[in-house]
């Protein structure tokens, strides 16, 4: 990737994040001594409805 492409990409990402009040909370949770990651497949892939 060229430097200018990288700059364009950064700008696109920043626009997206700011439009969305960007925050990135990869989080985990322990219950019954089992650690669950909220950023994993089971929580994310399927429809959000």
């Amino acid at each position: 990737m060229t430097d200018s492409e990288l700059e364009i990409l950064k700008k696109l990402f920043c626009d997206y994040e700011s439009e969305n009040n960007g925050q990135d909370s990869c989080d985990s949770f322990i219950f019954d001594n089992v650690s669950y990651c909220y950023d994993d497949y089971s929580d994310c892939h399927a429809p959000s409805i």
């Binding site: 990737m1 950064k10 626009d15 990135d24 994993d40 929580d43 994310c44 959000s48």
Partner: protein, 372 residues
């Protein structure tokens, strides 16, 4: 300026072939092509990760991914391990499978590679949409007998939406964590309109079920759908929910094509082929991806004034696309979220006691309290 995340999740389809023909399958219009991803394509995929990424979630998906064959998976995991050793890139593995081909040999492989297993299984109503229920249940028993953690993805149709509590109690009795998904209008489901759920039916029944779950002090399983909505309500963003997927998720098919999402593996959404790029980030500059960003921006602009915007962030891009147009809000998700957020706001305002241990723990964590 903020850097692109160094972590990415890739829905990795070694084949689109499938040995079942589920009535709701959203892949039906891909014709279940029998191609298996050549190992050279996987090697090329690894090479395009190198310039930027240091953490990658691989979600084996399909079709039925295990149709790629055991030898394929052994070879693929060796490639991932070699690449991780050479570059320091960390991989986490997940698989979504129908469970019919998962035998002890695969179980050994997934155990040694720390692959998280999720089975597509609808519990007491598995025969409504799927087939080979006995075989799937045999697989689940085998995995549980071996002490392997697994979870189930359970699809809800018009035939089963009124039985969510019964389905939940079934999964509890088996100690199987579950996530419920309503059927959505794509692929084979378009030919079975009798299975479609109205937004009112889904929302009414899910709220009733949620209240039952919240009161259930005997809950012994994780129900991701309930926990997701609590997260959403408190503005916690994770996974691909709440319009957080862009730049963080991609799908990759057996022919080496990239798409924005596993649910959008369609020619209209093809971003690039792995052989056309040297750096994975290039797919985010493809004309198709730029159109997606524009559509996303247009949808967000329409949602900004909504009082719940800071919770749903205009929702799922794939769902918006499937229900009409990515540039528009989709009524199904919008209706569900608004009703649910109103309901949760009432629960919080009334200080309703929460008995479910998972819900309790989650509320405490999110609200940073010792107890509620």
């Amino acid at each position: 300026m903020k850097e692109l995340p160094k972590r990415i999740t890739v829905i990795f389809e070694p084949t689109a072939a499938c040995n079942l023909r589920c009535l709701h399958c959203y892949h039906a219009d891909t014709d279940y092509l029998p191609d298996i991803m050549p190992i050279e394509v996987l090697d090329k995929f690894l090479s395009v990760l190198k310039p930027h990424y240091n953490s990658v979630n691989i979600i084996w998906h399909g079709g039925e991914p295990l149709l790629a064959g055991y030898d394929y998976f052994v070879k693929a995991y060796d490639r991932f391990a070699d690449f991780a050793r050479e570059t320091g890139v960390k991989f986490d593995f997940y698989i979504q499978t129908n469970g019919t081909l998962l035998d002890e040999t695969y179980a050994n492989l997934f155990e040694t590679t720390d692959t998280n297993i999720s089975i597509s299984y609808d519990g007491p109503y598995n025969d409504v949409l799927r087939q080979e229920t006995d075989k799937v249940e045999e697989t689940i028993d085998m995995l549980q007998h071996r002490g392997i953690d697994l979870r189930c993805l359970s699809t809800v149709s018009a035939s089963t939406v009124h039985h969510l509590v019964k389905i939940y109690e079934f999964f509890k009795s088996k100690q199987l964590p579950v996530k419920f998904n309503p059927i959505f209008p794509d692929g084979a489901a378009l030919s079975h309109k009798e299975l479609a759920i109205s937004k009112e039916d889904w929302t009414d029944n899910f709220i009733d079920f949620f209240d039952y779950w919240l009161d259930d002090k005997a809950c012994n399983i994780r129900v991701a759908s309930c926990m997701d909505i609590i997260h959403r309500f408190f503005g916690v963003r994770n996974g691909c929910l709440n319009n957080r997927c862009l730049f963080r998720y991609l799908a990759f098919d057996a022919r080496g094509n990239f798409y924005p999402c596993g649910r959008l593996i369609k020619e209209d959404y093809r971003l690039a082929n792995v052989n056309e790029i040297d750096d994975l980030r290039e797919v985010f500059l493809s004309p198709t991806y730029l159109s997606i960003l524009d559509a996303n921006k247009a949808r967000v602009a329409k949602c900004h004034a909504c009082k719940w915007y800071d919770k749903c962030h205009s929702g799922c891009n794939a769902t918006a696309s499937l229900f009409g147009n990515m540039a528009n809000r989709n009524d199904f998700e919008c209706y569900f979220n608004k009703r649910f957020f109103d309901h949760l706001a009432d629960i919080c305002a009334q200080g309703k006691p929460i008995s479910n241990p998972y819900a309790k723990q989650l509320f405490c964590k999110i609200l940073n309290r010792d107890k509620i």
